[in-house]
Amino acid sequence: MPLQVKRLLIVFVLFIGIMLGLKYFLTPESWREYGAYRGNALTEISDKEAKYVQTETCAMCHDSIAELKTQGAHKSIQCEICHGPGYKHIDDENIDMNIPDDNQFCMRCHSKNAASPQSIIKQIDAVEHSEGEECINCHNPHQPWL
């Protein structure tokens, strides 16, 4: 066998040896605990702070609004859909939640849109319907149809 090929083979054997060594030392402990991934990844992900605290948490303090909301068309919509994630606010009430009051916000869901189901989401033509009037002057977002 020519000398240069021999040397090259030695380099390849060394490389494969190093890779096997790295595989031995660097393979994460929980690898293949459940499948072809780090088992620890599951707990790491579940340990992350949840940013959305859910309506039940909001209702602990804002019970009257929560009660009102259960009677309206928005009852199935989580508070945080409009007000943003509440994880900071539940620890410190001085951190304000988002209180949207512009028509544009309502129109994200309620403007005429052939792709959305008309029977579930009421849709309007903003110019025709309100003639520039603010939506919240007539509709209470917590109980829009009463």
Binding site: Q4, M19, L22, K23, L26, F105, A115
Partner: protein, 398 residues
């Protein structure tokens, strides 16, 4: 990936009805760079093999430059992926935990095979004799570097050179399917995603291979002219004309395949067709019709086609080749953009769109993408200094 704190912020970027996990694009500009850079590697290598395996002698002056270009881009090919990872420091885990349950997990092996067994070996056997000679001529640290690169083998006998030549040839032959594997694999990653009608086609790996060849050839043409200019040498016009000829042929095949894919899609007009039609005519209009097809295909194709019948003066041809190579490189970049970004813009409900805007000022993805495109040129400059093709002993066999 854009992260939205509130739903309202996110909704401002949407049209129609889309699912919550489609609001923000998971694969951004860096993932556009990944198939782009990998394609340049495969294409540059194929150009080198045209000279070596298919014995196209006119391409001889670009042989080493093609190989070194392929190596320079190969060395950064993984970087767009690594820097896109949420946990970039864990990238090595893919290499130390081999498994066959995910197509993406195979990339490390495809990459290592191509880098270690094809590119490095071919360059090593091609330069071994010259490195031995240079190690005898140079002094100090550079001498040591060349010695180390030759693995302390100072054999220069005709037999040893014959062995280098034979093995080098064999590696190039193996290299061609390997280059196809490398970029076909990248195409497969997209083509095998059955939930996405913009990606899911068996044509994808083939289209990727041919578009890779087009971009790699254009890149070598650009670099060869650039290097000749910097060295104040006249580029070999015969070589440039031949590269342009092959660029023309492969561009025809590439365009035909891409058109076939689109015509098939249009004729089938399955349930996803309406949304794709709106996508291509709307959000992708500029990147698809103007950049990918206009700049990337029609301008180069008509110009190169014209050059097949009528040859203007050398000076004019050089300018044309320079412009064409840039057009093709830009066009193929937009082809990758249209695949990667385009495929994520529409909802799988087929009723809505999200949007993606490149953040030119504050976006890390833009700067990193530019970086991973520029770094290979510096690596190439270093490689051309270390292994200058113009100082090689060209009495070699091939």
């Amino acid at each position: 990936m854009n992260k939205y704190e509130t739903l309202y912020e996110a909704l401002a970027n949407l049209d129609g009805y889309i699912y919550p996990n489609e609001i923000a694009l998971n694969w951004d500009l860096l993932i556009v760079m990944y198939p782009y850079v990998t394609g340049l590697v495969a294409g540059a290598f194929i150009l080198a093999s045209l000279n070596r395996v298919f014995d196209i002698k006119a391409l001889r002056p670009t042989y080493e430059i093609s190989l070194l270009t392929a190596l320079s881009f190969m060395l950064v090919a993984t970087m767009p992926l690594i820097t896109h990872l949420g946990q970039p420091w864990r990238f090595y885990e893919m290499l130390v935990t081999p498994h066959l349950t995910s197509a993406m997990a195979i990339f490390g092996f495809v990459y290592l095979w191509y880098l270690m067994v094809v590119l490095l070996l071919e360059i090593w056997f091609d330069y071994r004799y010259d490195m031995v000679i240079w190690s005898q001529q140079k002094k100090g640290f550079v001498k040591f570097v060349y010695k180390a690169l030759t693995l302390w083998v100072s054999e220069t006998s005709p037999e040893s050179r014959k062995t280098d030549e034979k093995i080098g040839y064999f590696i190039t032959v193996v290299g061609i399917p390997s280059a196809f594997l490398l970029h076909g694999y990248v195409g497969f990653i997209f083509g095998s995603i059955k939930a996405n009608p913009w990606w899911s086609t068996v044509m994808m790996p083939v289209i990727f291979i041919f578009s890779a060849m087009v971009s790699g050839i254009a890149l070598v043409m650009f670099i060869y002219m650039g290097v000749s200019y910097l060295r104040k040498q006249k580029p070999d016009m015969m070589a440039l004309d031949t590269i342009a000829k092959y660029l023309f042929y492969i561009l025809i095949i590439d365009f035909t395949l891409e058109s076939l894919d689109q015509i098939h899609r249009i004729y089938e007009a399955d349930e996803s067709f309406d949304i794709l039609k709106i996508l291509v005519r709307g959000k992708l209009f500029f990147t698809f019709f103007i950049m990918q097809i206009g700049v990337g295909v029609l301008i180069p194709l008509t110009t190169l086609g014209f050059l097949q019948f009528k040859k203007p003066r050398e000076r004019i041809r050089k300018i044309i080749y320079l412009i064409i190579s840039i057009c093709v490189l830009v066009g193929i970049f937009y082809m990758r953009w249209n695949v990667v970004i385009g495929g994520q813009l529409f909802s799988k409900s087929f009723y809505g769109f999200t949007s993606y805007k490149v953040d030119l000022i504050g976006g890390a993805d833009v700067w990193l993408s530019v970086l991973w495109f520029i770094v290979p040129f510096f690596i190439l400059a270093f490689l051309l200094w270390l292994l200058p093709p113009w100082k090689k002993n060209h009495e070699a066999m091939h």
